[in-house]
């Protein structure tokens, strides 16, 4: 029997279908779990994903109202027992506002408004994230140093903390498994490589145990190789170009290369490998 993953949908969340599809592509059973379902059914799942969107229309702050929903209390209980939890974009905001990341229950971080030179508000583009050494189960199939092209699309994605140096401390402790990077190896990329001014260029922050990840880029939007930005370079772009060439030579057309596995599936593959190797939490 395949492990079951709940794709948790609060009102205003709009990335549930493609997130479920990405989970199914790595061999998991995905089910969209809407906010009005009985809480008693929530514990039946092996893992949980909070997709992107605008839960409760981003009222008060992104993720702030959903973080108070009783389901998130159940989510915290499941996470404490080791169940994997992934929050993508708005889902990441929910996890941070709920104190599930960096963990411990206290709200230690914010995903604050983007800081971008000469502009403000919502910002969308493809970025590059580098995998850092960590216990995060979602990056467990990736070697440290691997670079993934992923898209971001948000107005509030800047990891920051009131306590000076707290984000750096968490990163040093291995709780920042994904960091924005530029074309080189720079540790502190500038805008637009760091698209929101996030401290320590953090793109994804996890709890100390590594089973809860708040991730601002959208891996589900990078599940198809053909979705990769034309401006992308590096191994994934080379793979896309090579696949495209083969498809064109075979007379299959551009679309034939489009549905091959893209870089974003690696995040879901980490979850699948974890669930395959462990008993139920």
């Amino acid at each position: 029997m395949k492990p079951r993953v709940a794709v948790v949908q609060f009102p205003g969340v709009n990335c549930e279908a493609e997130t479920a599809r990405a989970l199914e592509r790595v061999g998991l059973e995905a089910e969209i779990f809407r906010w009005m379902r009985p809480e008693s059914e929530f514990a039946r799942f092996d893992a949980y994903v909070l997709p992107g969107g605008f839960s409760y229309q981003d009222r008060v702050r992104g993720g702030a109202l959903a973080a108070k929903h009783p389901l998130v209390e159940r989510l915290a209980e499941r996470a404490a027992k080791g169940a994997p939890v992934l929050g993508i974009c708005n889902g990441a905001q929910v996890l941070v506002e709920a104190g599930l990341v960096p963990g411990g229950g206290a709200v230690e971080l914010a995903l604050a408004r983007n800081r971008m030179p000469g502009r403000a508000g919502y910002y969308a583009r493809w970025v590059r994230v580098r995998i850092a050494p960590s216990r995060c189960l979602f990056t467990s199939t990736l070697e440290a140093g691997t670079v993934l092209p992923l898209p971001v699309a948000h107005g509030e994605g800047r990891f920051t903390a009131r306590a000076a140096g707290r984000v750096a401390e968490l990163a040093a402790a291995g709780q920042a498994p994904l960091r924005y990077t530029g074309a080189g190896d720079e540790a502190s990329p500038a805008f637009p490589d760091n698209p929101n001014g996030s401290e320590e260029a953090v793109a994804g922050m996890c709890n100390a145990e590594g089973n809860v990840l708040a991730l601002m880029p959208h891996p589900e939007r990078a599940q198809d190789l053909g979705a990769l930005s034309r401006a992308a370079s590096g191994p994934w772009a080379d793979r896309r170009d090579a696949r495209l060439e083969v498809a064109l030579q075979a007379g299959a057309g551009r679309a034939a290369a489009g549905d091959d596995d893209g870089p974003g599936l690696a995040i879901f593959a980490g979850l699948a490998r974890h669930l395959a190797g462990r008993g139920r939490a």
């Binding site: 229309q57 702030a64 108070k68 998130v72 104190g99 800081r115 009131r162 306590a163």
Partner: protein
């Protein structure tokens, strides 16, 4: 009369929806049903607050400029109340507690400042924040309950301000500072003074 300081005058513009505010209604519902300190919350309103500081024209002209601009409010669905002196009343009703929430480092409005300069030839500072007005049922210490609801510290505590990225200040009706949005938290009356305290 516009209240003057040595370095110019400050005017507050309070912007409120003419209709029910869905954001405030959602917040009220969540606070009442899920936060212990919110069970006695009877009403919640949300106003956008602008503070204009510098060499300002007469009140009537300020009102006309704000009405005409698209950077401050939409007169078709919002109303604007000017407050130019600390002796003037404000939209905060008697019995309401006001919680001001300001994005740390993001309170200035460069676009509005550029528009004002273009229209008037005067360079002014425009700052903005969000004012939540809380009305509690009688009994209990309203200011203390407002303070508890203001700052989010966990899933069951606080909502309006995430102190990791925002600053807040509290005031009761009749004691509303002018200016209220300082250039730094330490200058904000009723605001968080030290790192780590709110």
């Amino acid at each position: 009369m516009v209240q003057s300081r040595a370095d110019g005058a400050t005017v507050q513009a309070w912007i409120e929806l003419r209709t029910d505010d869905p954001e405030a209604l959602s917040a009220l519902g969540v606070v009442r049903s899920r936060l212990d300190a919110g069970r006695s919350l009877a009403g919640l309103r949300r106003l956008r607050l602008f503070e204009l500081h510098g060499r300002l024209p007469a009140r009537a002209e300020i009102e006309a400029l704000l009405h005409r601009s698209t950077w401050f409010y939409n007169p078709h669905k919002e109303r604007c109340t000017l407050r130019a002196s600390s002796r003037e009343g404000s939209p905060v009703a008697i019995g309401e507690q006001a919680v001001l929430v300001v994005e740390r480092g993001g309170e200035r409005c460069p676009s509005a400042e550029r528009w004002w300069l273009h229209e008037t030839g005067q360079a002014i500072e425009v700052r903005t924040g969000l004012a939540w007005l809380l009305r509690f049922e009688p009994g209990g210490e309203a200011a203390a309950r407002a303070a508890e609801l203001a700052v989010v510290t966990g899933r069951a505590h606080g909502l309006l301000c995430n102190p990791n990225a925002q600053d807040h200040a509290l005031a009761a009706a009749g004691h509303l500072p002018l200016p209220w949005i300082g250039s730094e938290p330490g200058r904000r009356p009723g605001g968080a003074r030290k790192r780590g305290t709110t």
